[in-house]
Each structure stands twice: as structure tokens, then as C-alpha cells.
Symmetry: C2
């Protein structure tokens, strides 16, 4: 692995560049971004050695690994364009937040008849605000980095056999970032992410928007919110800062699972509301206490 091209040098892409450097990667890190300022910032921070000019330059890259670090829809676009353009020895991987569509498209477009290989990935790391300026080499330290090769490749030892050497090299690289590598079926990934990542995001957005509507025109009320609101309010609204630009693609590519988790939570909140004065509230607290007390990995 002599060179890595990062497509999308925002928070994730620039952090990958910095982590490569910090992990002792001796090759070249190349970058491209549709936003000139993100690309310049990544260069300034030393996350990339060289910036590509123009989309055409991405399609003719001879980098050993191409990392797609954009929101999901541009990842799907880049996959369409890169699949016929790259050579068989090259590897494309990604850090997209949903995996079922990406894994299905990877199976359709990559990995056979002399084409490049594709390894779908998802580091469980990030911040509520994006941009190369916030990038950190340590972003992936102790984070789980999931790989979700298409279902057919996951059975027993077959996956390893089906994967090119370059995929193994990328797995090792990710470990050098301090990340913990796990494998997961892409559909299972999207369903579990709906519960533990997408639902918390939509919830935090909804409650922040609700408080904005309720208190923004009420100066005395907002002052009271700010005086009274402590850690609980901060935590529950933190993701309210997240950018729509990234979440739009997640909502579009995992709508069904997110809608199901939202619906389940709506029912659950109604249940709590109807039982504020009954002993069933005790049962609900007990179930919540049990979830929190379960041993964590």
C-alpha cells in the first residue's frame, strides 16, 4: 500500500489522513473534495500530502486504496463512476453511515471481471459538527470500525478467500488507527444503527426543534430553560447541532428501519404518559434500569 486517495476531506476524511500519518504510513496521502476550502484546510493541517484538482483526476487515480469519505449519496455516485475506471489491483473502501445499499451496489459493480475490489466500512466515530478543521488523528482511537462485506462473502472462511490482499492491508491500517475491527452483515448493521445511532439523532433533532418552537419567542422562558437546563438537557439536545447535509442521506437510505424505531418510541412515550400516575411507571423504570445494568463489552 503505497498511496491512499481520500475522497471527501471533511471531518472523517481528514481524520483518516491524520491517523495514517500518526500511524507511520510512509506512502502518499492524496485528497479531493468538492469544497475547495475543506480541501485546502486538510492540506494545511497535514492530513493530505497533495490535493487533486477536478473530478476527472479522481477517476484516473492510481492510488492503491481509494477511501470514500462523503455522505452516502455521493458515495453511491462515486461507486458508479469508479467501478469501470479503476484497475483490478486497486481497492475502494468507504466510511458511509448506512451499509445495505452500498454493500448491494458493491456486489453489483466491483470485485469481478478485472474490476477493483470494494470493502464497505463504517467507523463508529464522529462529532456533532463536521469539517477538516475539527479532524483528529485520535478520532478512531478505541472506536469500533465495522466492515460489512456483502452477505454472501461472510459465510465461514469464504470471506477471507474472496477478499483481495489489499482489503486485508486496509483492515490492518484501520487497526493502526487504534480502532477495533468488527464484521457485520450490512442489513443487520442498518437495523441496529437505526436503533442506537439514527433514532438518537432524530430524537435529539426533534426535541431541540420542539424547544426552539416552544421557547424561542419567550425571552423569560428561554432564560429559565437556560438557568434550569443542566447535563440532561445538554446531552439530550447535543446532536441537535448535527448537519442536515449528512443526515439527509442516512434518512433516505435507511428510511424503513428509522421509521420503525421512531414509531416504536412514539408508542413507548405514549405508554409512559398514560402511566405517570400508575404502578406501571415502576415497571418501565425497572426495564430501563436493567438495560443500563447489562454488562457492556
Amino acid at each position: 500500500m503505497k498511496s491512499v486517495l481520500v475522497v471527501g476531506t471533511g471531518l472523517m476524511g481528514a481524520s483518516i489522513g491524520l491517523a495514517l500519518k500518526a500511524g507511520g504510513f510512509a506512502g502518499e496521502v492524496i485528497g479531493w473534495d468538492a469544497r475547495a476550502e475543506e480541501l485546502a484546510e486538510a492540506r494545511r493541517r497535514g492530513a493530505i500530502d497533495r490535493a487533486l484538482a477536478g473530478r476527472e483526476a479522481v477517476l484516473t487515480t492510481d492510488a492503491d486504496v481509494v477511501v470514500l469519505a462523503t455522505p452516502v449519496l455521493p458515495i453511491l455516485d462515486w461507486m458508479e463512476r469508479l467501478a469501470p475506471a479503476l484497475k483490478a489491483h486497486q481497492l475502494v473502501t468507504d466510511v458511509g453511515s448506512t451499509k445495505a445499499e452500498i454493500a448491494a451496489q458493491a456486489q453489483r459493480l466491483f470485485g469481478r471481471s478485472g474490476r477493483a475490489a470494494f470493502l464497505p466500512g463504517h467507523p463508529m466515530a464522529g462529532k456533532e459538527s463536521g469539517g477538516a478543521a475539527l479532524a483528529e488523528a485520535a478520532l478512531f482511537h478505541n472506536a469500533v470500525w465495522l466492515f460489512t462485506p456483502p452477505a454472501g462473502e461472510l459465510k465461514g472462511g469464504e470471506r477471507k478467500a474472496a477478499e483481495p490482499e489489499s482489503a486485508g492491508a486496509w483492515r490492518e491500517t484501520v487497526k493502526s488507527f487504534g480502532a477495533r475491527v468488527r464484521e457485520m452483515d450490512p442489513k443487520r448493521h442498518d437495523e441496529v444503527c437505526a436503533w442506537v445511532s439514527h433514532l438518537p439523532q432524530m430524537l435529539s433533532t426533534a426535541i431541540s426543534a420542539l424547544l426552539e418552537d416552544r421557547f424561542a419567542g419567550d425571552a423569560e422562558g428561554m432564560a429559565a430553560v437556560q438557568a434550569i437546563g443542566g447535563r440532561a438537557l445538554r446531552e439530550i439536545t447535543r446532536l441537535g447541532s448535527s448537519p442536515y447535509s449528512m443526515w439527509r442521506d442516512i434518512a433516505l437510505t435507511n428510511s424503513e428501519a428509522i421509521a420503525a424505531s421512531l414509531w416504536a418510541l412514539e408508542q413507548r412515550l405514549a405508554h409512559v404518559r398514560e402511566n405517570l400516575r400508575t404502578p406501571e411507571l415502576r415497571e418501565e423504570f425497572s426495564r430501563a434500569n436493567r438495560f443500563r445494568a447489562a454488562p457492556r463489552s
Copy 2:
């Protein structure tokens, strides 16, 4: 102020004892708790100098200040019993989580015809787990400590005039804990607390209970939840550890405002769910972004 009696020596009561000591209070801190082990732990930790034996001893106390640091329903009970028992120079205050019922009862029972005074209070501090063992002198450092004297006493300069010296002394004591003192109307307090404290709690309980029901019997799923769940899941479920014993009384004494905030959130989640694939999701993220970007006090 030569002596303070803390009724309820759990997390809040024992922390008040420790904060008194740390703030240089030279008088005696006396404690009482229905649970012998909490009382013993508070004594062991140096939060109280002396433990009272039996409820009768509380009613005959000559402490200058009695701090009720139990859940709300026992606070209301103690108010009933203490009002006829104490002398006019004594002050009773509390740290209860809801204030409208307590303030109304205070107005009915205290502060006239030779009776002791009552100053309703609520420090915005706590932990998701209780008990004297977790008490800290620094628990109130930089926290807002609200006082909610009955509405009639809040108008202009009259409140100060209506308050005995002992109430002013307790306000100064609370400042010596590092807390920031604010005044608030008790009904306004309960309504705003419903939004920024009680709603986050019920939400965290509901989502934790939901995840328990969804994943507790599914070992592979729970392993995936634990592998994928990061800071967002931790934050959003943290209060799932909170004890029912305390929240029962909050739910009972602020049911209407909590139910209204839960209902509003249910509607809002449904709105997000119905708009996962429409441009309205962008508007919802914008509103949430605005709430988070508003200047904080």
C-alpha cells in the same frame, strides 16, 4: 445559624452536609434518615456530626435550619408535621424536584401566627444514582440553586420584606457551596422543569426500556448494540439508571406538565417520521441547529 438538621441523608442531603463543612460552617450538622444505612454512611463520610434516632426527635429539633432532602411526597408529609411543631425563629427549606405543591402548602402552613418560615428551594444538581456514598461537597459548584417562594411574595421588594433573616442566611450559605442563586415562580419552575428535566428523564427511561425489550432476548443483537452504540447511545440512555423511588413523586406532583411535554414530543417524532424523505426534514434540522446555536447563559 448555629445548627442545621438535614432530613434525608442520601445523595443530596449528605452533599449538603459535606458542602456546609467544606464552606467553613462552624455549627453542628445533624442528620436523620428513615434508612439506617444511609444515615450511618452520611455519618461515616463526615457529612453530619450527629444522627438523630427516631422521627420524634426531628419534630422536637431546635436546629436553626431544617433541610428537607427527601423525595417530594415525604417532603409534603414532613411539612404537615413540622409546621405545628417548630418555633417562629426556625427556618424550614427543601430541595424537592417539583415546587408548585410544596410552595402552595408552604403558604398554607408556614410563616404566620408564630410559626416557622419555609423557603422552597431546588438545586439543579444530581446524579443518575443516589445514596450518601456518592455525595460530594462540590456537587453544587456552579449549579443553579432555585428558590421559589409563593407567587405573592415575589412582587417587587415585598419578598425580601416578607422573608425572615434566616432565609437570607440560608441563601448566603447556598452561595458558599458555589451555587448560583436564582428566583423563580413555582408554577413556572414546574413547567420549565417538565421540558428540560422531566421530559429528558421520561425519554431516557422509555428508550432504555424499549431497547431492553427489543434486544434483551437477542444475544447477537445486543452484542451489535454494544459494538455500535457510542456516545450518542450512552448519553441518551444515561438517565435510564435513575431510581423510580424519586421519579414517582415527580410524576405524581407534575403530571399535567410532563404529560403535555410528552404528548408534544410524540407529535414531533411522528412529524420527523413522516418526513424522512421530504425537504421538511431540512427545516426540522434547521430549527434544532438554531436552538443549539442560541447563546447560553
